[in-house]
Amino acid sequence: MTAFNPQLDQQGRLKHFLSTEGLNRQILSTILDYAESFAGVGDRAVKKVPLLRGKTVVNLFFEPSTRTRTTFELAAKRLSADVLNINIAASAANKGETLQDTLHTLEAMHCDMFVVRHGNSGAAHFIASQVAENIHVINAGDGSHAHPTQAMLDMFTIRRHKPDFAPLRVAIVGDIAHSRVARSEIHALNVLGVSDIRVIAPKTLLPKNIENLGVRVFHDLAEGLQDVDVITMLRLQRERIKNAVLPSEHEYFSCFGLTEKRLGVAKPDVIVMHPGPINRGIEIDSQVADGERSVILQQVSHGIAIRMAVMAMVMGSAPSEKPGEKAGGG
């Protein structure tokens, strides 16, 4: 028996998508396979399929976000769902409404799915535990805990370039301690069987015991990037410098900034990813960000396909009247 996982229904299907942690390889691979099918929809005359027609998706963003929110919105619309964007900063929460009351109000409007971005770790899990049985929750980033759709679109981007995960060397560079992307990515890479996962960061930006997640730790960029196939650069939040975790932007760039020259020790066909938004000249040089090894803009397009796949999967686990009814031969 597998341990209880709040993301799965009784038949082991994905009901909520809250974290890449605790999901098996089959589920993650299925997400990638569906995304491959949905990726073609954007190339057609009509960029829509009718799968979620009549369903309502609520983007519940307690933290500002542009690319994540817009790609979720686009993904929902390409599945023919109706989308509500709720900017909590300008909503009833400001008037003193509790989170539970906000959720119940939205439930009363017959919404089917909440896409949640929140500054506190665990917020999406909490919301998933509060909502009615027929509502699905997707985590669009909670505190420094998880950002599972970002991790999956990164996996999709890797697989498009390097189809076999097992022999890959993958480096994640930057503010690991505060990064939900790093955490979700490490779990996903482990589940998909990547043999060499590295994190590269100054000591002040590494959480304690990170080795327990199955990664190798480097404090020197040149050493860590040796022969890697994939590099993920993380955004450096400026408040880290204000909080005196780092001496200066300039010094960070000179030690951990990715330049064309530093890329030289990696494999010749290395791909460079970044979840965005990028700080040019702080964690990554413009020459690299716009260079031929960069797949940063592909990541954005892939984000739509991944989010379509996840939304379709969680919605597809809805209570079924007659499962397995007439499978084929229509």
Binding site: S37, G40, L51, G316, A318, E325, G330
Partner: protein, 155 residues
């Protein structure tokens, strides 16, 4: 089936058609016809999983090979090919999907087996074989090599 299709295309004055098979059995039949005609256009493959009417009941179908129509469909004649025409729901979904690729000139539906049990007003233009079957009798194409029809009966 080939000669019936010849006659149909001739009678309806449909030249240079595109061949589109519905996954999985329909693609196998379409491959054969496409080869017989020696068509210059590539073969189209349609996966109607995202257009099925039973999504809210059974969810996504497990294996979704992407649809692949590597041509511009606008103003073209299309031969839509499936293995078994039964309820008509698959063809309904396939036609909806085809229209999302562009406004085509016409669709001709060609099926290997036309069996009884229609639930929608859909009929084939070209039929390999018509069979009168009860609801508990099932027919399935197995393949791709060799292609064979398999009959089963459920209680």
């Amino acid at each position: 089936m080939k000669s019936d299709l010849d006659r149909y295309l001739e009678d309806h004055d449909r030249h240079d058609p595109l061949f589109v098979g519905i996954h999985t059995g329909g693609v196998w039949i379409a491959q054969r016809l496409h080869r017989m005609y020696g068509s210059d256009s590539p073969l189209g493959k349609l996966n109607i999983a995202f257009y099925r009417d039973d999504f809210s009941r059974v969810g996504l179908h497990p294996r979704v090979t992407p649809s692949n129509l590597p041509f511009d469909i606008a103003d073209r004649h299309v031969i839509l090919i499936d293995d078994v025409l039964y309820t008509g729901r698959t063809v309904r979904a396939a036609m909806n999907e085809l229209f999302d690729y562009g406004r085509l000139a016409s669709i001709c539906l060609a099926v290997l087996v036309d069996r009884s049990g229609r639930e929608l007003p859909v009929q084939a233009d070209v039929v390999g074989k018509s069979l009168n079957l009860d609801a508990n009798e099932h027919i399935k194409l197995t393949g791709p090599e060799p292609l064979a029809l398999e009959m089963t009966t459920t209680e």
